[in-house]
Subunit: 575 residues, 2 copies
């Protein structure tokens, strides 16, 4: 069965199944979402209007037996940044869509105001149904009720109240194997889905298998690939402590942004660290090691129970814990977990929303450290769409504008995540130059700046950071197209067997003969496609800048500022 493009038009409520154009054939995940958006979306259109499209695509290897290949890419013009956007996530949807032969689901148009729909995807196409029952509900209940409606094997992609209200911090939620929530977090894609009147997309469970052109080659390569992942020491640390292993590491490096980016170390770091989290999870009968999609061999996720030993949250990531923890000075892991749960349920990007709270704390809206008030405001203000709730639901930049705050950690209006660019210079290049606003996952220089993966580059030196970020951004654009989790990068950078095995799998899947250079060129092409979209939308090199305060306010303990020349930043694009 050849893969198809499933296309839905929400203006006239029609659906079609189309052949994959030849030029899209070798693309998947981010490579495909960005290509479709660049081809079909007017760069200057209103992101919440009829001209924007939401493109959902599994990766090239999604649905196969390849380890860690279950990432789903969601793309659109972002209402938060105004740039092109791809946000990817675990969960079961990517693999399920791939098995149904869905190369991409393209959703276009907008329906009449205040009309809501559910989409259901089968191998035959998409059906569109008016929805009333689930409108206004949180993602947890939406998944539960859809499981009850259609059986718990279905896949679910949904938005919470934040997406319904078209808040620009709204994310898209993806059901994981335990009917919990993974998020396509960044850039407000939940608002795009909300603007199209779609509360949820359900995906029929299928026994069908993805076609493999050369099954034996695939099997051999997939074993070598899985071994590389399993043997990698960072993979192992991620499995033990989750991504939150980074709290102590980044704090030690002096790059843990604290109290709305006014310091690089957090006094309460031990209380919110991966080690403390691990012990708490074990003591409360949670699950310290857990996968976000079938076939993952790293298992960096976890189930975090509350004091009552009942489920509180899962997929409890370093960046979420940093944002509500160090950045808001909340040193109580239970408050952070509760906030994480509420944000998942409302369908809010935990980074954007928590950094927005940090700016609100600086503005005096609530005190730094008041985790209980954060939870109350999430439920009663953001969840109900009050004035202050909408300001926070608009993200960090929104709070800064509403309260006239000048220390607003954003690039292209997207909140800067958990690594201070003054103390870790490479990541500052990624924040500044990324086609998608500040986003650590676009070129994770922490690997080389801090973790010693792929070599070692002094985080405090300006030398070599542009090249490091460029190489990683190119590689990441390619990895984001495969359906692979970004965490394969640690093995890919340090284990000579990993990357060849990955390429072998792609070749065996499609019966082609890509080289490593082809993969690099794919990454370059994706970045250039995305950049061209942004330039046509009106972005310039002046947008590839960190906020002014990073240049003027030194950060303790290293007492360093962001001091990489603008010309050096702009040289990023010389490739």
């Amino acid at each position: 069965m050849a893969d198809k493009i499933f296309r839905v038009n929400m203006t006239d409520l029609s659906a079609a199944v189309e052949k994959v154009p030849a030029t899209w054939m070798g693309l998947g995940g981010r490579g495909l979402t960005s290509t479709v958006i660049a081809a079909e979306v007017e760069p200057t259109c209103h992101p919440l209007g009829a001209g924007n499209k939401l493109v959902i695509a599994p990766g090239l290897l999604s649905g196969t037996q390849a380890a860690n290949s279950g990432r789903l890419s969601c793309g659109a013009k972002s209402p938060l940044t105004g740039t092109i956007k791809e946000a990817n996530s675990g969960g079961t949807a990517a693999q399920m869509l791939a098995r149904l032969g869905v190369k991409a689901l393209i959703i276009e148009g907008i329906p009449q105001p205040d009309s809501w729909y559910g989409l259901h995807v089968t191998a035959a196409g998409v059906t569109i149904t008016t929805e009333t029952e689930l409108i206004g509900l949180g993602n947890y209940e939406v998944i539960e009720r859809l499981n009850a409606r259609l059986g718990d094997k279905i896949g679910v992609i949904s938005i919470g109240p934040a997406g319904e209200m078209r808040m620009t911090a709204a994310n898209i939620s993806i059901k994981d194997p335990g009917s919990r929530i993974r998020s396509s977090g960044r850039g407000g894609l939940g608002a795009v889905m909300g603007s199209k009147g779609i509360k949820f997309i359900t995906i029929e469970a299928s026994e069908a298998k993805v076609e493999i052109a050369r099954p034996e080659d695939f099997l051999g390569a997939s074993r070598a690939f899985a071994k590389a992942l399993i043997d990698n020491p960072i993979s192992q640390a991620l499995g033990q402590y989750g991504t939150n292993v980074l709290v102590n590491i980044i704090n030690e490096a002096g790059g843990l942004p604290t109290r709305n980016f006014t310091a690089g170390q957090f006094a309460g770091h031990e209380k919110i660290s991966g080690e403390t989290m691990h012990d708490t999870i074990v003591a409360r009968g949670g699950k310290p090691k857990h996968n976000c999609h079938p076939g993952c061999v790293i298992n960096c996720s976890q189930i975090y129970n509350g004091k009552d030993k009942k489920y509180l949250t899962s997929g409890f990531e370093y960046e979420s814990i940093w944002a509500m923890g160090a950045d808001c000075c909340v040193d109580d892991l239970d408050h952070i977990a509760e906030a994480d749960h509420i944000m998942d349920d409302l369908g809010l990007d935990t980074i954007e929303t928590s950094v927005a709270f940090g700016v609100a704390m600086e503005a005096g809206v609530l005190p730094f450290g008041d985790g209980a008030e954060v939870c109350r405001m999430l439920r009663e203000e953001v969840g109900r769409g009050t004035g202050i709730g909408r300001i926070i639901g608009g993200g960090a930049g929104s709070v800064g504008r509403a309260f006239g705050v000048t220390r607003v950690p954003t690039v292209k209006n997207q909140a800067i995540p958990a690594y201070d660019p003054r103390a870790i210079k490479g990541i500052g290049i990624t924040y500044a130059t990324s086609t998608q606003g500040a986003d650590h996952t676009m070129g994770y220089t922490i690997a080389t700046n801090i973790l010693g993966v792929g070599g070692k580059l002094d985080p405090l030196s300006n030398e070599g950071q542009v090249e490091l970020s460029r190489n990683l951004q190119i590689a990441t654009a390619a990895i984001d197209s495969t359906g692979m989790c970004l965490f394969i990068a640690f093995a890919a950078l340090d284990d000579a067997n990993c990357l060849p095995a990955l390429i072998d799998m792609i070749n065996a899947r499609f019966g082609i003969a890509l080289t490593a250079d082809d993969v690099t060129n794919l990454g370059k092409t994706i970045l250039k496609t995305e950049r061209a979209f942004n330039l046509a939308a009106g972005f310039t090199s002046q947008d590839d800048r960190l906020p002014e305060f990073f240049r003027t306010e030194p950060i303790a303990p290293h007492n360093v500022v962001w001091d990489i020349d603008n010309a050096a930043i702009d040289s990023f694009w010389e490739f």
Copy 2:
């Protein structure tokens, strides 16, 4: 006494008096504010940070006996648009500053958070005093208390609570001859003043006279100039009905934006027209004819009393009445007047704030037409800085982002004023290309498109509109530098004696010999200086666009869309 630059640094609370650099000598008003900002403000700086400067400058002829020469220019990088900004206003301050020999007052730096100051300007310089008593008060009470403190002859430039809260719709208020309020309305300059911790600037009354190099020449020219203004029929209509004479005219033309820009005519237009206003004013013992600064011969202002025959508002302009009236569907002039009073008192741009209410009505925050609720929200939400109050105080774009509205009438994030660009094409070119966001005063094509001044150009045709807007924008930049009210343009365009007399006055004042070409070149230079600032700040031709909906939604009664080519728009800058 030679003119001086008065410079105040709010970071170290110092003040200095400086010689005027030779290159600034021939400049005044907007020409000077924009030149200073371009020279001294980093285009990418945060508008509310230490790097921005607030520049206040009388015009070249301010302080002389020239009719209508009392406009004051305030300039800065705008926190609303991110562009360079000049907003000018009547009131007594321009003439008083000019008589003290103040060529420009430049305010730089920012003080410690939550510290407030008053500035006092005398011929000797500026003194800075800590202020507590007046913080939080509205402009009316600020003026009253300062009159009591320093005598009612002082000049006052102040901000209301909106500026203190750094709302991006906040304006700067200027005391008028009756101790009432005129506003430097657009672009959020009140937030810049607020960010610098300045609640008010008082100006010592002085008997000093502005030096005139050739007094007899000046006297002759000023008489010819005043006669041209007095004889002009549009000046006369403005004196009779105020600027609000336009409600019926623009409604008839089908270009009166109604119900958040969804129609071009308002059923309630008669109830809010200049004719109705005039009769109401007369019936209630108000004053239909009133000046905003001494020496005005047009007198387009008025005192509007409430039902109780007591003062309700003044300077009640067409654009304010349109915005709260037709755009919000409020057809009760008393509600509009009350809202106008509150906005003046809080220090809010009436256009930006009222258009923001129109967008909020579209979002369902309050019903269209509910003037009482508007007044309540202005007092209790905006005035107190609640969440929804700050969303509205952030202007139309802010409301659109907070509620995910796509029909948001802004250019460069500044609200489009009272003339629909689909039905009056020339003004659309001005909105799109202005260096300052949507602003009718930057190139008032209504003169030629609708009023038949300076020729006649069909408002519904695309032909010639770029050239019309270009010529008017160049002329306006020059006029805005003289201290002259923009309404001299009607006489200048149609009376052959007017412009030569204006140039003669400038030449007589400074003992120079400018030609009409020099004046045109001054206008061109100002526009290019402003544009260069914006380009360096990251603006591109993609920002010189009207919102998408103007191209896709035809407006009744003419059922026309905005359909001028982007390439034609961009040709504006070919001069």
